[in-house]
């Protein structure tokens, strides 16, 4: 049996200052080699889940636990979680003016390597990695040397996220609505990239509210997140059902 990479138990989280409860007892277990899709209505708490798992400020976990590959994530700083192999493809990637993508990634990779007691990557190896991985998502190599996300189109930003994922080779990747704002070609490219990065040792959590992405990245499980909890879990066919019926039948059924 393959090992558990993400284990979320009874997770309760609220907005720090307001005390507004967003996650209300969420459970999720993801094993190596699996792809899980999380779907759900707007405002259900999908991005909040990604933020809490990756350690963003502003949220308080009031109950429950999150483990990655046996490690208690909630104890770690956000950068330590990343160094342990967690990657989040942001719903809204930010721009960092004046910092080239390449410099950014090289710094990141070397920080991660240092944390793991590995040797820094040489400039030469790094550049050949950039060439190889940027092809994966058909990212113009010029974009690799431009400032992080600055002046990128929406689609380029999303592709850049997957490019970074390819460079960092995470254990667990959470893709937060990576499909939103992508036309069908870009969607195919991004999905193909993700599929090439999948293997038996890593896991991908795809957050989306369209089933269309799941035609390309085929999930092993589909979960419905509503009102801060996973209210239903099924296989790929659940996504199609949701597409047809919407979410209301689930939330009301549950209420």
């Amino acid at each position: 049996m393959s090992k558990i990479l993400i284990d979320i138990k009874n997770l309760h989280a609220e907005i720090e200052d307001e005390g507004k409860k967003i996650l209300k007892g969420l459970n999720l277990t993801v094993k190596a080699g699996e792809v899980h899709a999380i779907m759900g209505p707007n405002g259900a708490g999908k991005s909040t889940l990604a933020s809490v798992v990756s350690g963003k400020d502003g949220y308080e976990v009031t109950e429950g636990s999150v483990e990655m590959d046996g490690k208690d994530l909630l104890e770690l700083d956000p950068d330590e979680r990343a160094k342990e192999g967690l990657f989040l493809a942001f719903q809204y990637p930010v721009e960092i003016p004046g910092v080239s993508n390449i410099n950014f990634l090289r710094t990141a990779i070397n920080e991660i390597k240092e944390y793991r007691g590995e040797e820094a990557v040489s400039a030469k190896d790094f550049m050949s990695m950039v060439r190889e991985k940027s092809k994966l998502v058909e990212l113009d190599s010029k974009l690799a040397s431009r400032a992080v996300n600055e002046g990128f189109s929406g689609g380029e930003k999303k592709r850049n996220e997957i490019f970074q994922m390819a460079m960092l080779e995470p254990k667990v990747a959470i893709l937060d609505e990576t499909d939103s704002g992508l036309d069908i070609d870009a969607l195919r490219i991004v999905a193909a990239g993700v599929n090439k990065l999948r293997n038996e040792n890593n896991a991908v959590i795809v957050i989306t509210h369209y089933q269309r992405l799941l035609d390309y990245i085929v999930p092993d499980f589909v979960h419905v997140l509503a009102d801060g909890k996973i209210v239903k879990t099924g296989d790929k066919s659940l996504a199609l059902e949701l597409e047809e019926k919407g979410y209301d039948w689930l939330t009301t059924e549950n209420a």
Binding site: I96, V99, T107
Partner: protein
């Protein structure tokens, strides 16, 4: 002639024999505190200055006495007691032994990657190393001498090249220019002098770093750089190691003269002691820096200011000659309780003159950071152009950023552009970096360096690398 490389330096350094008996002499040399004509005569006599220079000082003193300390800057501080200062003493604290040096300072130097020997030199500990550097400097000077370039301490220049000093001293920053300039003109002790002959392109960056006698110039530094027709020079001031100084007041004057078709690039990284976390101590840095551009010439100021408790500094260009160009690239960082009021003046007098101002202010802690700039277009300055970009980055909610742009335009053909932005460092940006594996400190360093890139790019390579590290260090634990 082959370029003189760092390796050659290191090699020579190894081969030098120590020469003792230099520093102790200087240390014992002190004049009682206070300021009056006798003190000025004493300074001048000790330096064996010619009569005209004594006259220059005495005149400055009487001008200064009539002036009052300016209050228009956006800074608050307790005014120095000018009678409590000793105007001729070794201005930098020399530590008795390496153990006496502040551990915090050592730690900072480690982070900057400064070698132990270098650290000792910079803190003034190892006399032998100091002597060593003097000899290195000498051979450096010989190389320059072959090209007719003069690069020496101001005192030496007064002795060896009095005609040049007399011709140019005070021509760009006249004695009566401002309170601190007048004070400096009366009591300056030493500084640097540089002359590039006609048509010569100086083959290396000239840096006070190589001139260890600079360590004795501290408080009232006087610098004069003259680039003769068609010549070109890049001058680096200071070094990036932290300089903890017991002297509260620094009032330097720097004058640059770019004759026809000449080019001067003047870079500064200023890192005087900024005071502690509670705002105690720290240097008051009141500097007057100005350059004059003759026809077709260019002066470019680049500064990275991270130190001092109070900074008051406006490196400026007088664009006197037609087609001359003035540039000002600045990064000013304030943290804790630091206050900086800095900017530039671009005075357009000649036709087709052009100026560019890029100012990046970064405020953290409870500090106050002000940009103050004047763009003045004279009535005869046809087709003058200025571009000003003035950005402020706030790291906390308690700090302040202010911009005071002034424009005086007397010629309708001028084209002036001004852009200003203020932004708070994005928590989202920091989190984004952290999510990719960068610690919060690394993330801030990266974001800030990106923000300052346009300015850092103007610095010579080695300087830029150190300046980047310095920025990161100055902003440690600064987001809030």
């Amino acid at each position: 002639m082959a370029a003189y490389t760092e390796e050659e330096f290191a090699e020579e350094l190894k081969n030098q024999e120590y020469k003792f008996g230099f520093t102790s002499e200087i240390e014992s040399d002190k004049i009682p505190a206070g300021l009056n004509e006798d003190i000025i005569r004493m300074i001048s006599a000790k330096k064996q200055e010619p009569e005209w220079l004594l006259e220059y000082r005495l005149n400055a003193y009487s001008v200064w006495q009539e002036m009052t300390e300016p209050e228009w800057a956006h800074v608050k501080y307790k005014k120095p007691d000018f009678q409590a200062i000793s105007y001729f003493s070794a201005p930098k604290k020399q530590y008795e032994s390496w153990d006496d040096v502040d551990p915090e300072m050592k730690a900072t130097m480690d982070k900057l990657g400064i070698s132990m020997d270098e650290q000792k030199k910079l803190t003034g500990v190892a006399v032998d190393f100091v002597m060593d550097s003097v000899s290195v400097a000498t051979s450096f000077k010989e190389k320059l001498g072959e090209l007719g370039i003069i690069f020496c301490s101001f005192s030496e220049a007064v002795q060896d090249h009095p005609e040049l000093v007399k011709k140019y001293l005070g021509t760009v920053v006249p004695t009566q220019d401002n309170f601190y300039a007048a004070l400096n003109s009366a009591v300056f002790t030493d500084g640097s002098f540089c002359y590039i002959p006609k048509g010569v392109r100086c083959p290396m960056e000239l840096s006070t770093y190589f001139r260890i006698n600079e360590a004795g110039t501290g408080q009232f530094e006087r610098t004069l750089v003259v680039a003769d027709q068609g010549s070109c020079v890049s001058y680096l001031e200071g070094c990036t190691a932290p300089q903890r100084d017991e002297n509260q007041l620094h009032a330097a004057v720097v004058e640059l003269i770019a004759l026809d078709d000449a080019e001067i690039k003047y870079s500064t990284v200023q890192n005087w002691f900024p005071g502690d976390k509670d705002g105690k101590g720290g240097v008051f840095n009141f500097v007057t820096k100005r350059g004059i551009c003759h026809t077709n010439s260019k002066i470019s100021w680049t500064q990275v200011e991270t130190g001092s408790a109070v900074t008051w500094k406006y490196p400026s260009c007088v664009l006197k000659g037609d087609n001359s160009i003035g540039e000002f690239y600045s990064v000013a960082v304030t943290n804790n309780f630091q206050q900086a009021d800095t900017g530039t003046k671009m005075i357009h007098l000649g036709k087709n003159t052009k100026s560019t101002i890029i100012s990046k202010g970064i405020s953290a802690g409870e500090s106050q950071n002000s940009y103050r700039g004047l763009v003045q277009i004279g009535s005869r300055a046809d087709n003058a152009r200025n571009f000003t970009q003035c950005d402020s980055l706030l790291m906390t909610d308690k700090c302040g950023a202010h911009t005071f742009p002034y424009i005086e335009c007397k010629n309708n053909s001028a084209k002036l552009e001004h852009e200003a932005t203020t932004s708070k460092i994005g928590e989202d940006q920091i989190f984004y970096c952290q999510q990719r594996g960068l610690s919060e400190e690394k993330a801030i360093g990266l974001i800030v360096n990106g923000y300052c890139k346009e300015v850092l790019n103007k610095l010579p390579m080695e300087f830029a690398v150190e300046a980047q590290k310095l920025l990161a260090i100055s902003l440690e634990n600064s987001v809030g």
